[in-house]
């Protein structure tokens, strides 16, 4: 489903190299966790997958269902089934959450040649999915993410994911800023979306999230490269010993 080949990338503004040859293959139905210390390039990888222009790919390719993503705009990638849950979901005053959700869903349907959803159908979908994530109608009436707590913002991201039904979900530190209860709600939301057709790339600092969203494969990212790959026990090992071993190994 996703195949990253020898990916090198730098910051477009100043040329700082962030990713130095990443190789990764994610198959449908799999959950891959990417762990690593601050500055290892985890968030950069997620932004590059989503198509942020602050970064420049200098070498390598990203294939999604066999086709390169690099030439696609962020909205084309989204319509193709890619979803990034942001580490810091953005507040947009003046855009009502409902309007945003409807615009996004219909834009994707249109891009895929599907008809727009009627308002009643759309409302029903939102209500069903919001209830499962403990998102109230009051929250949906507010401007997008404005005045939401950290936990509410993350739940709002998962609601968007549930509604847009992507085939590849990239979760960028979705656990940051969550208390234990919120972590459970968010994880349950993610687990409910797991299916044989859908894959996840879960980026996190901490093993804690992986107790709830159990990964098939764990990768350690350091200085822009994957330095170790293992099963879910690798995360436990990291929790115990820290990143020091791998960081040194990569140096």
């Amino acid at each position: 489903m996703l195949e990253i080949k020898n990916l090198h990338a730098r910051i477009a503004d100043d040329g700082t190299e962030i990713l130095r040859g990443i190789d990764l293959v994610v198959k449908p139905g799999e959950v891959h966790a990417i762990m690593g210390p601050n500055g290892s390039g985890k968030s950069t990888l997620s932004y590059i997958l989503a198509g942020k222009t602050d970064y420049e790919v200098t070498e390598g390719d990203i294939l999604y269902n066999g086709e390169s993503l690099l030439e696609l705009s962020p909205d084309e990638r989204a319509a193709a089934g890619l979803f990034l849950a942001f580490q810091y979901p953005i507040e947009i005053p003046g855009v009502a959450t409902m309007t945003f959700l409807k615009t996004a869903l219909n834009a994707q349907r249109k891009a895929r040649g599907e008809g727009e959803l009627s308002t009643p159908d759309f409302m029903k979908r939102v209500k069903d999915k919001a209830a499962k994530l403990q998102i109230t109608m009051d929250m949906l009436k507010r401007p997008l993410n404005v005045g939401f707590s950290g936990g509410e913002k993350k739940r709002s991201e998962i609601l968007q994911m549930a509604l847009l039904e992507p085939s590849l979900c990239v979760l960028d530190e979705t656990d940051s800023g969550l208390d234990i209860d919120a972590l459970k709600v968010v994880s349950d939301g993610v687990n409910a979306l797991r299916s044989p057709e859908r894959a996840f790339v879960v980026i996190t600092h901490y093993q804690r999230l992986l107790d709830h969203i159990v990964p098939d494969v764990v990768h350690v990212l350091s200085k822009g490269r994957i330095v170790k790959t293992g099963d879910k026990d690798l995360a436990l090992e990291l929790e115990k010993n820290g990143y020091a071993d791998f960081v040194d190994a990569a140096a």
Partner: protein, 441 residues
């Protein structure tokens, strides 16, 4: 001895002088009105058209803009006026309202809903008739407005317009729309509307400024007088044709315990100056001024305000949003004056602009002149471009770039739109805003 340097008279100034000698005998009004016109003309001879060295007109050099003055428009017959109207947008569609029609500065009772308005309790009559009868009191304006050059030009040449009276205690059941329509041949106009709301009267007035062509110079004045306890909402939508020069002045006089909201949208015209002079004359009154300006492709649109807190215990709120795209210029000048005895004044002014391209330009000049010591006054001014992070977030959810930009411009304007508070006005303004955005390449 110093000699005031005076630039050579421009062609347009000469034409205005000639127009005065040609038109003066035909202009309506009793002797006192004629005296007012003459005084205004003498002042014009001294100062000429306003230009960039006149502080209040610094960013909108009317002398430079007006290369030539088209002849003042004559009154059309009813069929002619009707055909002008038929060629223009019906901004308020099928909203149930009393429609009053001014074409090229002349009021057409035959095209207006006179009977329904009268049945609702209000009166309208041509300003020419009112000036002949009521005379100069109709031309009285608060001191902050009288020295303005465009106000002076309107006093000189005003040939007609409308007097609308909502008597004391009357609440109109429907909005009153005043259409300021301009014909397709280049002409100059100086229409004036006087709206007099009696004590405790309530009304919604929708002014629309439409039509015109390259070379049109429309210099309108709307004089809004709210007697004690009156409540007025006046929405002024300027959507004239691209080539016009538009000066639209709103003068607001607030009595005690009044609430007046003036909502202005500047979307059309090639060179537009919208100005508002707001004078508090009675205590415990509140004025709300909202502005939405959208300009592109060489347009120049100016929003200038002067708020005079001349008495204690009044509130004023000003919120002006400007969207500027390629090669256009937006201007905001806002001045709040608080007189020495106007204690407990609360005046808050905010202006924000969104620049959509590299060659978009915005000039912002907020001013506070506070002479009282127990007041709350503040102003804020911001100018920025579309936030790339917001744009990326929307696009990452599958919303194409153009649609995402549209959403963000709407979001920028949302605060001002929400403050409008009247659904009829919100819908009409939103439709205009969306149409403007849809025209984007």
């Amino acid at each position: 001895m110093t000699i005031e340097p005076r630039a050579l008279e421009t062609r347009a100034e000469t034409e205005l002088t000639e127009a005065w000698y040609k038109e003066r005998d035909a202009l309506p009004g009793n002797e006192a009105v004629a005296g007012r016109r003459k005084a205004a003309f003498d002042a014009f001879r001294q100062t000429g058209l306003p230009h960039r060295r006149v502080e209040e007109w610094k960013y909108s050099d009317l002398r430079n803009r007006l290369k030539s003055i088209a002849p003042f428009a004559a009154r059309r017959d009813e069929a002619g006026a009707k055909s002008v109207l038929a060629g223009l947008d019906n901004v308020y569609g099928d909203v149930d309202r009393h429609r009053l029609v001014i074409v090229d500065g002349h009021f057409h009772a035959g095209l207006s809903d006179m009977a329904a308005l009268a049945a609702d309790g209000a009166l309208a009559r041509p300003l020419a008739e009112a000036l002949a009868e009521a005379g100069e009191a109709l031309m009285d304006l608060p001191a902050i407005a009288t020295k303005d050059a465009a106000v002076g030009l309107n006093a000189i040449f005003c040939a007609d317009g409308l007097e609308l009276v909502v008597p004391a205690g009357v609440t109109l059941s429907k909005p009153v729309e005043i259409v300021h329509a301009l014909g397709q041949d280049a002409a100059s106009t100086a229409g004036r509307v006087v709206i007099r709301a009696g004590e405790g009267a309530e009304a919604i007035v929708l002014e629309t400024f439409l039509g015109g062509t390259e070379g049109t110079f429309s210099n309108t004045l709307t004089d809004i007088r709210a007697a004690d306890g009156a409540k007025l909402t006046v929405a002024r939508l300027q959507a004239e044709a691209a080539g016009t020069t538009h000066v639209g002045t709103a003068v607001v006089t607030l009595g005690a315990k009044t609430a007046v909201k003036v909502i202005g949208a500047g979307i059309g015209s090639g060179f537009a100056r919208h100005q508002a002079f707001v004078a508090f004359t009675g205590e415990h009154a509140r004025a709300d001024l909202l502005g939405i300006t959208m300009v592109r492709k060489g347009q120049h649109v100016d929003q200038t305000l002067v708020i005079d807190h001349a008495v204690p215990n009044c509130d004023s709120r000003e919120l002006f949003k400007t969207v500027v795209d390629d090669g256009a210029k937006g201007i905001f000048q806002g001045k709040i004056i608080v007189r020495p005895h106007a204690q407990k004044t609360d005046g808050q002014m905010m202006t924000q602009s969104l620049l959509l391209s590299e060659d978009a330009e915005m000039a912002l000049k907020p001013e506070l002149e506070i002479f009282a010591d127990d007041v709350q006054c503040a102003h804020g001014a911001t100018s920025g471009e579309i936030d790339e992070d917001l744009l990326f977030y929307l696009r990452a959810r599958g919303i194409p770039e153009k649609e995402a930009r549209t959403l963000l411009v709407l979001a920028f304007l949302a605060e001002a739109v929400e403050e409008i508070g009247e659904e009829v006005i919100v819908e009409a303004f939103e439709a205009r805003i969306r149409a403007w955005l849809d025209q984007a390449a």
